[in-house]
Structures are given as C-alpha cells and as structure tokens.
C-alpha cells in the first residue's frame, strides 16, 4: 500500500481488540504523548566527536563483549541469581492481543496517582460502530473499563476512558507500586480536628474562587526548554556552531540479538538510509514511539546510576549517548 511521506500518519503501536463478554472491538493503539524535552548530546570538547558508552567489567575496567554478558537478579546484598534469556522469555506473559476489560468502575473511582501513560485507541477493521457504542455507553453510565493488556511482552493494568470522540487507554500503576502514605504527617480529614474555623474556610474559599479559571494546557510551557532553545537560537545566529560527524555504526553491534524490539529494528532501517540519499524525513525523525516499553528510558535515575548496564545496547547504534532532559 503506498505510503505518503508528506504528512506522516500517526504510527500504530499495537493492534488488537477490546474484549469483554462476547463483545469484540478491533482497535489500534497510538501514542498520546510526545516528548519535547531537550536532548543534551555528549561531545568530546577537544574534537567535537560524539561520546558513547562502552560496556565494561567494573572490576577490570576492560570492555566486555556482548556474548559474555549474562543477566542476574540481586536477591540479597551481593547475592545474585543468573537467568538466561530463554528463562526470561519464558516468563513473559502470553500476548493475547486483547484489551480485556475485567470490570467497569465509576469514572471518578480511580485516584489519579494510579494513572500512568495514556494511549489513544482508534477502531480498525470496521469496528467504528461498536467502538462508538462502547464510548457512548461508558459516557452515559459514567463508568470506565478496567482492563488488562499485554503490550510488547509486558502486562499492564489499564483503564479505558471515553474522552470526546474517542477512547483513551491509560495504563495504571499496580496497587503494589503505590506507596502508602499512612506514615506522612497529614492533618486530620476532619476539618474541626484539623483546627480550621468557619471563617478561615470561608476566606480561603473566596480566594480560590477569585483565582478560578478553566484548564488550558497551552497556557503552561516548559520555561527551561524555551530558555535553552532561545540560547541555542542566539548561538546559531552568532555562528557559534560545531559540526559533528557521526561515525558509521559498527556492523552487528547495532542491536541486541534476542531482546531487541521490532520497533528498534524498523527505526534502525529507517535511519539507515538517512545518510545516503540526502532525503530528510520528518516521519522517521520522530522516534518517540518506542517510549512505551523502553525500560532504560523510563527510569532516568536507574540509567544514571548504571550507565554501562542496560542503556548501552540501545545507544550503541546511535553512537552518541543521549540524555533526556537536563535534570
């Protein structure tokens, strides 16, 4: 099927079906978010060459070949269990390609601390009507569907929410991942016991009313990013720029053999032509789609602590170590 390159269509991240009872709605998932953070790429200040990671043996400091790396889980301090790729793969949940709704709960019944990443859900394969039916029904009954879904080998809990013309699938944190706050010094839920007087409450309410408005996401911008972009702009205008040549990716080093995700491979292929014919393609520049399951990115802190461990396989192909956001 001919693919138009002019305006890249939103990329389908997942295809399957919403399912409950005997109902089956074929749908595709699209990323609802995009990361506009600034990448600070590392450069060698002497030569302006890109800087990358190497995997090293922390004891010897020497580089280690991929085939000599195995995966271990630390079960107590300094004690590890080693798991083979095969054993890990066997533990993956079975992909059912369904968003399996288990229960419908009141729309305001899920505290927002549980909300994680949103995906847009759109009907495919003539599923539009039954899709609309579910959307309408949820809206009218003011309920949302709590569902299980497997996306790229990972099982998620999610909530299916009607929003305007569509349905949004918002991944949920597992109950076990939410910390209790019983130990925090919170004041009593009872206003009297918390020592509030009617007068204070009235004044505070008045103040809130004075400052009330409607939520407009466009009103709020990441000022740090704008500041950096302005600075970059000034430097470009002043001619203070450096040319960085990316070295060719080493053959066979580009991706991990087994665990590599298909999305990485397609991106790799898309990138592979970029240096050749001088074609620039906005479509392929947009590489945030894999954000979904890319574990190394989701946890900046973990990545910072062990740069040599996991992030390397992904960044090796880029040859430049990427750091999302400065913080």
């Amino acid at each position: 099927m001919p693919v138009t390159k002019k305006a890249p269509a939103p990329r389908v991240l997942w295809k399957g079906a919403i399912s409950f009872g005997l109902v089956h709605i074929p749908v595709a998932l699209y990323s609802a978010t995009t990361d506009h953070g600034i990448d600070f790429d590392w450069l060698d200040k002497r030569t302006m060459d890109p800087v990358g990671y190497k995997r090293i043996n922390k004891k010897t400091g020497k580089e280690i070949a991929r085939e000599n790396i195995v995966k271990g889980v630390e079960y107590e301090d300094g004690e590890y269990v080693v798991l083979s790729d095969k054993e890990i793969a066997a533990a993956y949940p079975k992909t059912t390609q369904t968003i399996e709704i288990e229960t419908f709960v009141p729309a305001n019944g899920i505290p927002f601390v549980y909300l994680e990443r949103p995906y847009y859900v759109a009907p495919i394969n003539k599923g539009a009507k039954v899709y609309a039916l579910l959307r309408e029904t949820l809206q009218r009954s003011e309920r949302v569907g709590v569902a299980r879904v497997v996306i790229q080998t990972k099982q998620h809990l999610a909530v299916l929410v009607p929003v305007g013309p569509g349905l949004v699938l918002n991944l949920l944190r597992w109950g076990a991942d939410i910390r209790p706050w019983t130990d925090l010094p919170l004041p009593s839920e009872d206003a009297k016991k918390a020592g509030l007087t009617d007068r204070e409450l009235k004044m505070a309410k008045q103040l809130v009313e004075d400052m009330s408005g409607n939520w407009d996401p466009m009103e709020f911008k990441d000022e740090f990013k704008d500041e950096i972009l302005r600075l970059v702009d000034r430097k470009v205008k002043a001619g203070q720029t450096e040319t960085v040549t990316q070295p060719e990716a080493e053959e066979g080093q580009s991706i991990e053999g087994k665990g590599a995700k298909i999305i990485d491979l397609t991106e790799l292929l898309q990138r592979s032509l970029r240096n050749k014919g001088g074609k620039t393609k906005a479509a392929a520049e947009d590489d945030e789609e894999d954000e979904g399951e890319a574990a190394p990115r989701a946890r900046p802190a973990a990545k910072k602590r062990k740069p040599a461990a996991k992030a390397t396989s992904k960044t090796a192909s880029k040859t430049t170590a990427r750091h999302r956001r400065a913080a």
Binding site: M1, P2, V3, K5, K15, Q97, I124, N125, E251, G252, S254, I255, G257, A260, I262, L265, T266, L268, L269, Q270, S272, L273, K276, G277, K279, K281, A284
Partner: protein
C-alpha cells in the same frame, strides 16, 4: 469448462486426503481470482504425477504433448528452448490440473514485453529453526525499508514456509538492473539487521535467519503464483493478504486447498491498489546509493 479430469479419485496428498478431482475443483473455484495473476505471463508448472511426496517435474517449456488451453508463446522470447507456456483461461488452468499440475509459477514480466520486468519479488525464506513470528517480523522489516524507499509493496503467503513481498514496477529497467537492485536491498537488510537477515542463499548461511530471496528477479526466474496450491503435505495455498493482516497470520500455509473457503470472497482485494502503485526505481536506487 469441458475439461475432463481423469483419475479424479486418486488421493494426491495423503495428509489432507485431497484427491486430484478436488484439486481441480479448487482451481475451478478460484479461477476468476487466479487468472488475473496468470494472464499474460509465462508460467511454469510443477507437476506431481505421483502426488505430494512423489517425484516433481518443473516444467517451463512445452514438452511432447501440448496441454489443452495452455498457450504456447513465441519461441523467440526464450531463445534456444521450446516455446514458453502461458495460461489465460480457466480451461488452461484445468488443463494443467488434468496434467497433474499442483503448482503454477509465473515470471516477473509479461510475454508481450518480456524484455523488462513489471514487478520485483522478495521471497522470505526462513532457515532451519526460524519461528513464524520472526518471518512476520522480517516481512515487516522488508516493508519498512521499501516504504522508506517509497516503493509500495504487497504481501502474500507462500503456501509453504514463508511470505512473498511483491513490488509492482513501471517497466523502466531491465532484468539485470532490477535483480541487482533487489540484491542491494537484501544486502542492505543483512548489513543493518544482521541478526535477522542473510544476503546469501544456502541452508548453511541462514541457520536461524531469513534469506530474503532476490534471485526470483532474474530473467526466466519464477515465483509461485497467488492462489496456487503447493506441492507439500497439506496443500497450502499462496494467498494475497493486506499488510495489516500480517500480525494475525498464523502461518504461511494458513490457507490450504481444504480450508480456503470464505477467503476466496476476499479474493484480490488486499492487492487492489497494485496496478496504480507501479513505481519506477530510479529514485529508490538513488536513495539506496546504487546510482
């Protein structure tokens, strides 16, 4: 369709119990879907007089006896050989079935203009121990690269073990150029994703990997036609599918002569855009760095 099928009760595939008569009935049933793929192209027949598992005869040219309804082409098209064959009618298709034909393979060019191919085919041929998901993934990767080259591509099951990716071409380049370019594509795949692809044929080269066979793109080379049955146990059928069906395919022989049933109604719809998608290769050659 007056073609008489002799020995119609003879079982030609022990696994499915399909008889010669049932295979002929299959071809009669899919003729209107299949003929657009056969018409105007030289065809090669895989004949199995002793059925699946017996000796197979691959026939590109007329031999001794003509097959009723099968056209003989101008011998000048393939110099030094007997005339090439072509099937344009249901009668010819059934004539072939009567002659114990199980598979029908076509050229990538048409007999009226056989100097230049009008399509390019990649046969995703899995090595030993390659699981189905990997073949699906490989097809998607081939499509990704073709998309990136702005080459529309179309998918079909092979009916055997793999998948076929077909790129309809404007007839601008000769056989050697097209074959060379298809090789460059496969080499690029093997270079960028060496974990999955090899650029050399031969079972030893591709253990655990996939050879995207570009050798189907030379003069005289053929690939099994859409809707052809395969001379393998179970009699798989090569069926055109839409790219968005790819994730749901369960195997290259998902459809067989025995279970093709309702799929016939879908017919060639997944390939409906093929004619208007014909593309020249110059831009793609430039992008890939071939010229």
């Amino acid at each position: 369709m007056a073609q008489k099928i002799t020995h119609a009760d003879r079982v030609i595939d022990a696994q499915s119990g399909t008889t010669k008569g049932e295979l002929a009935a299959y071809y009669a049933q899919v003729a209107s879907q299949m003929l657009p793929h056969l018409r105007g192209r030289p065809v090669a027949l895989v004949r199995a007089p002793d059925g699946v598992g017996g000796e197979l005869f691959f026939q590109k040219h007329v031999q001794n006896r003509e097959i009723p309804g099968v056209r003989l082409l101008d011998p000048a098209l393939d110099p030094g050989h007997d005339p090439l064959l072509q099937i344009d009618t249901a009668a010819g298709l059934l004539g072939a079935a009567q002659m114990n034909t199980i598979e029908l393979h076509t050229w990538n060019g048409t007999s009226r203009a056989l100097d230049r191919p009008d399509r390019m085919t990649f046969d995703l041929d899995p090595g030993e121990g390659v699981e189905w998901a990997r073949i699906q993934e490989a097809a998607l990767l081939v499509k990704t690269l073709l998309d990136e080259l702005d080459l529309p591509s179309f998918l079909k099951t092979s009916g055997g073990k793999g998948l076929h990716v077909v790129v309809p071409l404007r007839r601008r380049h000769g056989w050697d150029e097209v074959k060379g370019f298809s090789q460059a594509i496969v080499q690029h795949l093997a270079r960028i994703v060496p974990e999955r692809f090899v650029a050399k044929s031969g079972p030893r080269n591709r253990v655990g990997k996939i050879f995207a066979d570009y050798l189907r793109n030379g003069f005289g080379a053929t690939t099994v036609s859409a809707w052809s049955a395969r001379a393998r146990p179970g009699l798989g059928v090569s069926v055109p599918v839409a790219w968005d069906e790819l994730p749901d395919l369960t195997g290259a022989a998902q459809w067989t002569v025995a279970n093709i049933g309702e799929r016939i109604a879908v017919g060639n719809a997944p390939w409906e855009a093929m004619e208007r998608s014909r593309t020249g290769l110059s831009a793609a050659m430039r992008t890939l760095g071939c010229i």
